[in-house]
């Protein structure tokens, strides 16, 4: 092993083009969040480990993949983590700073850290998230879904598919088979994986039939849910309230009908959620997730606060979004150079760059013609008979154009850029 400098395993560099795309997504997300009434927050990268262990959302295997360590204050054995998730820190922020203010529509662009053993995937991931804290009922759930779809559509994401499940329904259903909540997640995974041997459900029994119906089918309208309700309710009346909630959400989602699919089986990892659960996909690739998590706040020593939210996976979206070009784009930058290295021409060159930047262009001064002409566009500055003359040249080979006023020059640039 030599001492060449490399980035850490599992970490990613973001080059100028990556950052342009990143900022475009981030800006689109922020603009739309603002229009939906969501205000941006940022939580620290480092949080106490117990924030996550207390909420019970870190399974032992997830805990093993969390970047936890003793920092300079760790003499008492209190560990800190690089945040593995954004929703729990947002809930902590609310309890710490905003408790008692009632509803809070909050959004963030955060990085989260999870150790991935091979190092082939990113261990630092970026999320654009929105949390509607204090938002109750189907209306808040629908707001979250509609807002996420609005953002994805504005970003130009094609083939948006939303898988919607319902944790409350799953929990009620599993409660009929297994009373211990800690074992329900494993049971649900086993059902989905077809490992039914240990379930002690008689093949062909009514419960078996209901399970097959609920977990084995999917539909695209509230009508599908109503059909399920009429068949399953008489056998499992306990599912009534959760199913009713699910149907009410579905009714409110009619504006995005065609994008969503109701599929209870998409609810893996449901322990964290209490109601609606979302998976956003595009062309079969997962691009986000979310749902309702009413039980989270009491687990971090707060009173009950209903909440729901979603997060979009920024790293995945960057592969699907094209940034619009703009005159401020550095690939369209204009290099200005003095024809001769005199104080007067250099001063005029700096002044021209400032003027171009004020007009929204990207512009900088290069010392020589050779350096300047490496750029897409270059402008030479010279003095003729006491007047400044500007010559615009393009790499594309268009004929050089000469201007004696900056107004004309800017007008021409506005046309070509």
């Amino acid at each position: 092993m030599d001492q060449d400098v490399h980035r850490c395993k599992g970490m990613k560099d973001m080059l100028p083009d990556d950052m342009a795309l990143f900022r475009h997504i981030e800006q689109t997300f922020r603009n739309l969040c603002q229009k939906w009434g969501y205000r941006e927050i940022r939580t620290p990268v480092v949080e106490y480990l117990h924030l996550f262990t207390a909420s019970g959302t870190l399974t032992p295997s997830k805990l093993g993949q969390t970047y936890s360590f003793l920092d300079w204050d760790g003499w008492s054995g209190e560990r800190v983590v690089l945040r593995p998730d954004s929703t729990i820190p947002t809930a902590r922020l609310y309890v710490d700073n905003l408790d008692g203010m009632g509803k809070a529509r909050l959004c963030y662009v955060h990085n989260v850290f999870t150790f991935e053993p091979s190092g082939l995937e990113n261990r630092e991931k970026w999320q654009c998230g929105a949390e509607f804290i204090g938002g109750t009922g189907p209306l808040a759930d629908a707001e979250i879904v509609l807002m996420a779809v609005d953002i994805l559509k504005t970003l130009g994401i094609k083939n948006i598919e939303i898988q919607i499940s319902h944790a409350g329904l799953i929990k009620t259903l599993l409660g009929e088979i297994e009373k211990d909540p800690a074992k329900q997640a494993e049971l649900f995974d086993n059902i989905l994986d077809g490992k039914l041997e240990d379930l002690k459900i008689e093949k062909g029994s009514e419960l078996d039939r209901v399970l097959n119906l609920l977990l084995g089918s999917s539909g695209k309208s509230e009508g599908f849910l109503k059909n399920l309700e009429s068949i399953t309710y008489p056998i499992l009346p306990a599912i009534g309230p959760a199913m009713e909630n699910f149907i009410q959400i579905a009714e409110l989602l009619s504006p995005v009908k065609g994008h969503f699919q109701f599929n209870l089986a998409s609810g893996r990892g449901f322990e964290y959620y209490t109601g609606m659960m979302l998976q956003f996909n595009s062309g079969g690739v997962r691009i986000g997730g979310g749902g309702r998590y009413d039980d989270l706040f009491p687990l971090i020593n707060s009173q009950v606060v209903p909440a729901c939210g979603f997060a979009l996976y920024l790293d995945t979206l960057t592969g699907m979004v094209k940034p619009p070009s703009s005159k401020g784009d550095s690939s369209q930058a204009i290099a200005v150079y003095p024809r001769e290295p005199t104080r007067e021409l250099i001063g005029a060159g700096f002044e021209l760059c400032r003027l171009l930047r004020d007009e929204g262009f990207t512009a900088y001064l290069e010392p020589t013609e050779e350096e300047a002409q490496k750029s897409h566009r270059s402008i030479s500055v010279r003095s003729k008979n006491g007047t400044m003359v500007f010559s615009l040249r393009e790499k594309s080979g268009r004929p050089e154009k000469i201007f004696v006023t900056t107004d004309n020059l800017v007008g021409e640039l506005a046309k070509v850029v």
Binding site: Q3, T53, P60, G64, G74, G77
Partner: protein, 490 residues
């Protein structure tokens, strides 16, 4: 000379509890190693009957690390030390070859009786931050995760973990075995690993080298059936331990610090090489600590002073324990206080008196074979962009890290060790940060000192925050004055 060493087939062997049985085993299979005895200070061994094999002796917990990082092809250590490594670093390049049938014991989780819990699942139901003391901090963390504890703090300790619940820690993870019975007042809750000796291999060596000749020798010997290493707690075993009669002499074996009156001063005394000096000092002050010099004297409490109770723990663990408020004052070395503060600069612990005895120097050491004579030479040797990172072995991990950083060593790695550190040079480390009293041990191992980091003597440490109890402050002040005066008489 050591280039030849690198070509050999290499075996890492344990010091300590497994040493005599391992030596017997190696003799019985025909790999007799000269000087592999408890008294020998020679850590590099050769087998006269097996010239292509060489061996080095390490602390048991270092063996699994040395094999995993590929410095050794095979190693022998307790299964718990393999699990300690793999529980934190699951991709460690260790292959578990086979159990060797000796050193059998269990890593047991015990709870303070004051918690009133008897089953592992009861721990999570306690509405408090759970503290765990263990020599196996990674296994402790895995255990806390497995129980899904909402909030926990782990104290990695150098030894005597089973003592900790008597002064405030909730759980301790410690070893029980044929030669180590439960003699503390703990409620055994769970078993989480085995201490049986295991033969382990480096994964690359296992995949790429022909280890057959050595493995054949091991396979010829009939061992007892290897122990089942999956430790799902056996209810009957836990019950048996619960029912085991605890030997209580003179009432409680140890004073329970949590029930002490707030005016009582809690003093931690060191075991190991500082013990003799400390007894002398206490004698001069007229303080007799009953049991301190007894062979198994980990639980003394008779001090002859009304407002003073004492426990014995490792000097390395004292700064953290004082910082956490489990002790008011402690006698330790300035080296360990410094190492603690290098790790945790905001820790509320400070030196309050220099006891002047036990002078050691903390030094930077290299092998004479390297031809390096000073820090500049070392830096130059490792400054080339194609040279491997500087490997720094030390018990003082944080001091070594800070030193390398301040000396601008560039790309370096600190390898934590747990004793016998001089064995690491030159094959397994390039630089050693070590304490030395006379320099004789270093010279015997062909090592030279290239820098001195600090001098350390025994000292009294205490909290930076004054006790709120007037009586306690007075007792501490009087005790420290007596010890300081006694130290100056030396």
């Amino acid at each position: 000379m050591w280039e030849n060493w690198l070509k050999l087939f290499k075996l890492a062997l344990p010091k300590g509890r497994l040493q005599s049985k391992t030596a017997e085993l190696l003799d019985s299979v025909g790999i007799g190693l000269d000087n592999y005895t408890a008294k020998s200070r020679n850590y590099k061994l050769q087998a006269s009957s097996f010239p292509e094999l060489s061996a080095k002796v390490f602390q048991e917990r270092d063996v699994s690390i040395q094999v995993a990082i590929g410095n050794y092809d095979l190693g022998i250590c307790g299964y718990n030390w393999v699990e300690e490594l793999t529980s934190k670093y699951p991709s460690s390049a260790v292959v578990i070859v086979r159990g060797l049938g000796y050193g059998r014991g269990k890593l047991c989780v015990g709870a303070s009786p004051d918690l009133g819990i008897f089953k592992p699942e009861d721990v999570a139901s306690l509405n408090k931050t759970i503290t765990l003391a263990s020599e196996n901090p990674n296994l402790a963390e895995s255990y806390a995760a497995r129980l899904r504890l909402k909030r926990f703090q782990i104290f990695p300790v150098w030894g005597a973990a089973e003592v900790y619940p008597s002064f405030g820690t909730d759980l301790a993870i410690f070893t029980l075995g044929p030669d180590k019975k439960l003699d503390t007042e703990l409620v055994p809750l769970d078993f989480i690993s085995s201490t049986e000796a295991f033969l382990i291999a480096n994964r690359n060596s296992w995949q790429d080298m022909d280890l057959g000749r050595v493995l054949d020798l091991f396979s010829r010997v009939k061992f007892d059936e290897p122990e089942k290493v999956s430790y799902i707690p056996a209810a009957s075993e836990v019950k048996k331990l619960k029912n085991e009669k605890i030997k209580i002499k003179n009432g409680r074996l140890s004073p329970d610090f949590r029930t002490l009156s707030p005016d009582i001063v809690r003093l931690a005394l060191p075991d190991g090489h500082q013990q003799k000096h400390t007894i002398t000092l206490l004698d001069r002050c007229g303080i007799q600590v009953g049991g301190y010099n007894a062979p198994a004297g980990k639980y003394p409490f008779e001090t002859g002073m009304e407002h003073l109770v004492v426990k014995v723990i490792r000097p390395q663990d004292m700064p953290a324990q004082v910082a956490c408020g489990n002790f008011d004052i402690a006698v330790t070395g300035r080296d360990w206080l410094t190492d603690h503060l290098n790790d945790f600069p905001t820790s509320p612990v400070k030196e309050i008196a220099d006891l002047k005895h036990g002078l050691v120097k903390i030094v930077a050491v290299v092998s004479r074979e390297t031809g390096i004579n000073d820090i500049d030479g070392l830096r130059e040797r490792f400054s080339d962009k194609h040279s491997p990172p500087l490997r720094v072995a030390s018990e003082y991990v944080n001091t070594a890290d800070k030193y390398c950083c301040y000396k601008h060593f560039g790309h370096y790695k600190v390898i934590p060790t747990w004793g016998a550190s001089e064995a690491f040079l030159p094959e397994d480390a390039d630089l050693l940060i070590e304490n030395t009293e006379t320099g004789e041990t270093l010279a015997r191992h062909n090592l030279i000192v290239i820098d001195t980091l600090m001098e350390s003597t025994a000292c009294i440490i205490g909290s930076t925050e004054e006790s709120g109890h007037h009586g306690k402050r007075k007792t501490i002040s009087s005790l420290v004055d007596k010890l300081r005066k006694a130290a100056s008489e030396e």
